[in-house]
């Protein structure tokens, strides 16, 4: 069956090259049948890539170790879900997933818009095919998942830390986000290539962008939870280059989602939007380059491989292509109106954009710094957490504040008097909240105090907005269902506030202590007392489990165990932490038994109490809810768009 997979990928490559060349020729020479043929090639490319994906998936499920990829990433002990998750657990499989999602998304986006946006889609096809050609080429010539060998009795198995339910969902979610950003990019490029830079490309890709952004955001939160429960260092985000690789396009896409509203509303920021959509796409490919090339050290990245240079070349070529297009079409991207006041909705969106892009570029510099120092100084210097934390505060706190102010300000211009009147209640709530926090001792961390005060301000504005809006239209359901983008956006803002509270609580107000314990000894932290009861080692299929068992007293009574697993296939260790979540106290007790000696029964343990950390995971659900509301189709809007975009009746 590997031959079928290989053949399907070769067919995909041929089809994507054809769709690129024939599509571009058809668009330039204005030939209808050739354009339809190129479009069909894109659809067929999805079909043949799907065949390749099915071949690989079936080999994984059947434990067909004659596939080198299957033998390298699975073994017979893996259950079907984990065997399937090896599809994206290795480099070649994850590239195949990229191509599958790209051609699937691309085909759907082109099929849905082929009638209403026929002059744009004729250019979108070759752009998408160009991206597809690159991935198909890499899969055929550089990193094929269909290499074969004489089948061994068993495979190497999947890295233990990847054998986690979150890892079944997290990578595909990120891919749906990364690849989803190709669609707005392709339509933006199509608009510029066709010279029709009106708002249709934005209207056509609004939901695609929102969906990609939502997948990317939720995928990152899933990854953060995986890191929290599985990697076991007590945190959830380490500013690791590969984690940053997903954060950067998300920040750029967030900026784009806001600035695009100004273009829709005022016909402004056309160049800026083109730059942002290109930036988001380039960063998503750059993120894949970071993960695949092994150019940076990360627990997430794949080992050094020959595909890095291909990816780098693709990033450079596509960046030059995007910039050249924007420069070429600058005369068509002139704004129709100007900013009327620095105190207006559009102005706050602009400030928000500047902060988001500044944060994004700051993170990019942090990621690039080791590579730059290696190239220019011959030594790798990395940038640590303090750098990122500093800039997160510098740009993130004003962003949080703007999230509260922005929705209240009127479009065009707002009067200072009116704004003060509007903000009176939220300001009062935030001051009260700040004073209360100082009184309960939260003043120990200034950034934490500011984050909480700002968060209460934003929450107050959201509640006020909902109450006022409901009063105006009669019911909250009517309000939200008739203004989905707006109120979906507010729900997402609420999720970001929960996230900010969770991050501030767990980092600024967390407690941690380390101790060396023998059975009977105890350690106390933040009202909890942990006594080491026992140290034990047990043998389970495929692993030796070593655990230190603690009796917990004080604010909670029970047992927690922590230690490590030493797996046989693959022969790798895995740290196992003990976590007790208390929803009533809104905190986690987190135990890391670093070094468990079964002979001497000595255990080195780190105990952390992390207040409000679970709000981060709640934020993920609220985020999805908000994105869902904003994404939900609006029949009225659809009818209006069809009227607007349908070709004129002759």
């Amino acid at each position: 069956m590997a031959d079928l997979g290989r053949a399907a990928l070769v067919v995909s490559l041929g089809l994507s090259v054809y769709a690129l060349v024939a599509g571009a020729t058809a668009a330039i020479t204005n030939r209808r049948r050739l354009a339809t043929s190129a479009r069909n090639a894109l659809f067929c490319c999805f079909g043949s890539t799907l065949v390749a994906a099915v071949v690989l998936a079936s080999a994984l499920v059947r434990h067909d170790f004659s596939f080198t990829y299957v033998a390298q990433h699975t073994n017979r002990t893996l259950t079907t879900p984990y065997a399937l998750s090896a599809f994206w657990g290795g480099q070649e499989g994850s590239l195949l997933l990229w191509l599958l999602v790209l051609t699937g998304y691309g085909s759907l986006a082109v099929a849905l818009n082929r009638k209403l946006l026929r002059d744009l889609t004729v250019w979108v096809v070759p752009v998408l095919a160009g991206i597809g050609t690159f991935f198909a080429f890499v899969l055929v010539a550089v990193a094929s998942p269909f290499g074969t060998q004489t089948a061994p009795l068993d495979g190497n198995g999947l890295t233990p830390s990847l054998q986690n339910p979150y890892m079944v969902a997290h990578p595909p979610m990120l891919y749906l986000g990364y690849v989803g950003l190709s669609i707005p990019f392709a339509f933006a490029a199509g608009a510029m290539l066709s010279g029709r830079t009106d708002e249709r490309w934005i209207v056509a890709t609004r939901r695609w962008t929102l969906a990609a952004w939502a997948f990317l955001g939720f995928g990152q939160l899933l990854g953060a939870h995986w890191a929290y429960v599985e990697v076991g260092w007590g945190g959830y985000y380490a500013w690791d280059p590969v984690e940053n690789a997903a954060l950067m396009p998300w920040l750029a896409a967030t900026a784009f989602l806001h600035s695009v509203m100004i273009q829709e509303r005022k016909g402004m920021l056309k160049v800026w939007n083109m730059v942002l959509v290109a930036l988001a796409f380039e960063l998503s490919v750059f993120g894949t380059f970071l993960t695949r090339s092994g150019v940076v050290n990360s627990i997430h990245s794949f080992s050094k491989s020959p595909i890095g240079s291909w990816f780098l070349a693709f990033v450079v070529i596509s960046t030059v292509f995007s910039l050249a297009l924007i420069m070429w079409r600058l005369p068509l991207l002139k704004a129709r109106t100007k900013l009327e006041s620095a105190l207006s909705r559009e102005a706050t969106f602009l400030y928000n954009n500047l902060l988001l892009v500044a944060l994004c570029l700051t993170v990019l510099w942090g990621v690039l710094f080791p590579i730059v120092t290696q190239v220019f100084k011959g030594e790798t210097r990395t940038i640590g957490r303090p750098y990122y934390d500093f800039f997160l505060r510098v740009f993130g706190l004003p962003l949080l504040l703007l999230m509260g102010i922005g929705p209240l300000i009127a479009w065009r211009k707002a009067s200072f008097r009116g704004l003060v009147k509007l903000l009176a209640w939220p300001i009062a709530v935030s001051i009260l909240c700040g004073v209360a926090l100082v009184l309960v001792g939260a003043g120990s961390s200034k950034p934490g105090l500011i984050a909480y005060t700002f968060s209460s301000f934003v929450l107050a504005t959201i509640v006020l907005e909902l109450v006022r809006g409901t009063r105006a239209v009669g019911s909250v359901f009517t309000l939200i269902s008739r203004n989905r983008r707006r109120y979906g956006g507010y729900v997402v803002h609420a999720a970001i506030v929960l996230l900010a509270i969770g991050i501030a609580g767990s980092s600024a107000y967390g407690t941690s202590t380390r101790a060396r314990l023998t059975p009977g000894q105890s350690v106390s932290v933040a009202g909890y007392t942990l006594s080491l009861r026992d140290v034990r080692r047990t043998q389970v299929p495929n692993a030796t489990e070593t655990r230190a068992v603690f009796d917990v007293g004080g604010r909670w009574h029970g047992t927690l165990s922590s230690g490590d697993n030493q797996y046989i296939f693959p022969p790798e260790p895995s740290r196992e932490v003990g976590i007790k979540t208390s929803w009533a106290r809104a905190e986690d007790l987190y135990v890391i038994a670093d070094d468990v000696n079964v002979k001497t029964h000595v255990v080195f343990v780190q105990v952390l109490v992390k207040p409000l950390v679970n709000l981060i995971w709640v934020a993920g659900i609220v985020f999805l809810l908000g994105a869902g509301i904003a994404l939900w189709p609006d029949a009225r809007e659809q009818r209006r768009l069809v009227t607007r975009l349908a070709p004129a009746r002759v």
Partner: protein, 141 residues
């Protein structure tokens, strides 16, 4: 077997890609239907209409919700209504009243306006919700 399946896959792909030429070996008109200047103008006017009406709708909602006070509302509503009227007038002039029609935004009945504080120079009454399509008559210049 796999090779045969691969060849079948390739053959199906070639067939589907060639389909437009197989269906129409000789096309009477093989040009792409690219919108002409007239269609671009029509779309531009519709975009202007939708943009102006959406802005008007949001301003209306914000005013009713108490987010924009009467003084600011009076200042903002004038230019916004002029923009909307201009967009609708342009559409009506070019394409007749059918094209200038639009859906009502589903706002509830107008609440009692707040008592007049002072006397603004040109008091603009709080506008009614957008007229339904059949009542969308736009004042002529």
């Amino acid at each position: 077997m796999s090779i045969v399946l691969g060849l079948v896959l390739a053959a199906i792909a070639v067939l589907l890609v060639a389909l437009p030429f197989l269906r129409e070996p000789v096309a009477a008109d093989d040009r792409l239907a690219v919108p002409d200047a007239e269609e671009d103008r029509r779309r531009e006017l519709l975009e202007d209409r939708d943009r102006a009406l959406a802005a008007l709708k949001e301003l209306e909602l914000d005013h009713r919700a108490g987010k924009i006070d009467d003084a600011d509302y009076r200042e903002l509503i004038g230019p916004q209504r002029r923009e909307a009227a201009a967009a609708l007038r342009a559409l009506q002039r070019r394409y007749g009243s059918e094209m200038a029609a639009f859906e009502t935004p589903d706002l509830p009945p107008e609440p009692t306006p707040p008592p007049d504080e002072g006397s603004p120079p040109t008091p603009v009454p709080v506008p009614e919700p957008y007229p339904p399509p059949d009542e969308a008559t736009i004042p002529q210049e």
